[in-house]
Amino acid sequence: MSKIHVTTTVNGDPTEFLCEPQETLLDVLRDELQLTGSKEGCASGDCGACSIELDGRLVCSCLVLGAEADGREIETVESIADGEKLHPVQAQILEHGALQCGFCTPGIIVAAKALLDRNPDPTDTEIRYWLAGNLCRCTGYDKIINAVQDAAADLRGEAS
């Protein structure tokens, strides 16, 4: 079967790629575009390590076909920092030590940023439910929740 030609936008850049019909967007990002920040933990939409934004919507890229990216806008973890300036979610995760192995961290950051884009002042419970699709086996989530709260405060311009 011949490959499918896809024209899309990845992290603001116009991008073209060829993919097989059964290839997921995660496969394309990692294997074709060398954007390996998105991780595969399960390939079934259960762990959230491959979280990206597709036209501004938070999705698991393992549940999207590469071909479906045609004409869409994709934002991955690689686009979240502004040059050398980290996004407050990234900075606060480091300040809190809210990562251990760091494998789920890209997905957590993409998901947490998506939350704060929509809800600048979430409760702990709202953060916990929003991140319920992101498995972290190392931290027990506690420091992640605190880091997201402090990132929210930073984004609101409050001194923490």
């Binding site: 097989e20 059964q22 990692r30 294997d31 060398q34 954007l35 390996t36 920040g37 998105s38 991780k39 595969e40 933990g41 399960c42 390939a43 079934s44 259960d46 762990c47 390590a49 991955t76 973890v77 690689e78 979240i80 920092a81 980290l86 990234q90 995760i93 480091l94 300040e95 809190h96 030590g97 809210a98 990562l99 251990q100 192995c101 760091g102 494998f103 789920c104 961290t105 890209p106 950051i109 419970t125 953060i127 916990r128 439910y129 991140l131 319920a132 699709g133 992101n134 498995l135 972290c136 086996r137 190392c138 931290t139 027990g140 989530y141 506690d142 420091k143 992640i144 929740i145």
Partner: protein, 756 residues
Amino acid sequence: MTYEPKDLKVVGTRPVRPDGVDKVTGRANFGADHALPGQLVGKVLRSPYAHARIVSIDTSKAEALAGVKSIIVGEDMQDIAHELSQSGESAIDVHDLSLNVLARGKVLYDGHALAAVAATSAKIADDAIALIDVTYDVLPHVVDVDDAMKPDAPVLHDDMFTKGLEETPTTASNIASRMEMAMGDVEEGFKHADVIIERSYKTKAVHQGYIEPHAVVASFGEDGSAYVWCSSQGHFAVRDLSAKVLGMDSSSIRVIPAEIGGGFGGKTTVYLEPLAIALSKRAGRPVKMTMTRAEVFRATGPTPATSMDVKIGATKDGKIVAADCEFRFHAGAFAGSPVGAACMAGLTPYALENARVVGYDVVSNTCKSGAYRAPGAPNGAFSVESAMDELATELKMDPIELRHINAAEEGTKAIYGPTFKQIGCKDVLVATREHPHYKSNLGPNQGRGIASGFWFNVGGQSNAAINVHEDGTITVVEGSPDIGGTRAAMAMMAAEVLGIDYDRVQVVVADTASIGHTDGTGGSRVTFATGMAVTNAAEDVVTQLRTRAAATMGVDVDDVVWQDGAAIATKGDAGSLSLAEIAATAARTGGIIVGRSSINAKGAGPSFATHICDVEVDPETGYIEILRYTSIQDVGKAIHPSYVEGQMQGGAVQGIGWALNEEYFYNEDGILENPGFLDYRMPVASDLPKIDTVMVEVPNPSHPFGVRGVGEAPLVPPLAAVVNAIEDATGVRMTELPVTPVKMLAALDARKEAAE
């Protein structure tokens, strides 16, 4: 080295970890992130049966498929004699390891590998796997540990004759070994008991649940050497085990450690690495292999299912007079469960005169069990700490008081041999009793449980080198994969000894050819043992800096002290030279300064932990909510407190999952029915409350900064803490894990019926 109290500037603070930015931007390279030009994709054919004889494997159709570059089956592997290879906390039998990597003769569990293919694409490799014809002769199987011990159980290994009995049996069985530890006279002790609790408990196999599946890229060269990129808890073990399985020299394999996406003990052995090397050798091209999540569940090593009996007797004032335990652990398809560690750890929080623990290591048709965070101890503690809770209830005594009366302390002789030096067992219990959580009120259907736990912690071999650069910055080179922030701890200890700022120090985890052998990241050893090597290497640097400075200043080296990052002459007016100043002229004063240390660290200080758990049990649905949780632990000295707290929190949550949700669910055909994160339900953020932590710091006398390992003890108490809380809330004692809502509701209904 011994502990000396000192003023600390860096140790105990909370800086950003050296590898932090890479890990929040997606730049960090994990196992599956590496790629080589021309690489092939490798896939594995796995058994669909729990137990079967392999009659034939026909690969001809797969070989004929365009794009298939190499195939290996069990016959291609060499036979290896039984030999124990020490890897991290547990010894690995390389004969069994080889058969686990690729089956020969029989498949022993659902998911057992029996062929591997490398092809030009994942699709072709998958198609080739489907084209391999295997004829099986399906055999009867056994999963449950108690069933596997029965005389009429299907036997996995014809050559397994139980070790550890007075007389070695002549009939093969699934009982690999029996072990016994004892002190005092248990029968005599029970005669003095006013109260005796006797119970049986069961736990299911649970997986470490690291989010990163196993992954490797191997490249075999024409000169007979191989490069291997993979994530593991010990790349030296990956090298040595792969070399043994493949009949290669260790020096012919160079393993480059990737960042590791969680391990918890599960990445201390090899699964894919020998296959990838062998496929690459045959194909003449690099081969990349990654496991699917289902393969991780079906074919790597969860912690074993267990069946345990505990009998504890005490006088009416709470003094334990005897304890008698029998632990039966299934090891999976090959011998080697952590039952020994369970025997050694289960009763160890207590000073006992009369105690006996018997352990059985049993094989069954399930994947070979592996190490999981304090291997064996959580199971053992679940049984002992549940019984302790019942004992406290019977005695109408506070459960902390009961534990405190019997707690181990300095001078206590443990059942496994040693006499404890300075330990924090009692300090932890006191901190637990004084914590506001323990004094807070509970509502209807709510309950509180506490449980304690012990873990040995280990030392072992570590290497470190410290390069002092011309500009006065430092690179620490060490061999311990960083699984939870240990680069930060290494940098902090080096900065502390050298008296320089933390941000002047970088840390590199070097490959197997670039630093001396370092044991795996396991046994809670890295901050203790590799930290000791880094501290030694930094002391070595200081000695050299003082010598160079003395020569430059023209004074005797004995008259130069190292203070705040500078060599200071204590006599005359020679003044001082900073590290940066000495480094700048090092090329002219004898060459670049490199400090080194190669050690086998002794004196790992044991950890004791006590957890408090509050639950609410819904009487309508059996749903159990964790309301509040506090983890209290003797951590020795917290080098970077955030990462110590993180260990305590993460371990507690893994224990909550083990207690309430997680289990390997085998159907009647012995097939694993839940090999995915949807059906193998690990805790998510919305399942949990805050996990509070209290770090009790009782310094380890054998470490320069007082470090004890902290990583594993946090998984020891939670199982019983949760179940004890459930009992407090409902009055029902749950003895089998996990306590799912279905099981809970059935138990509540049964009690209601009994009362009516």
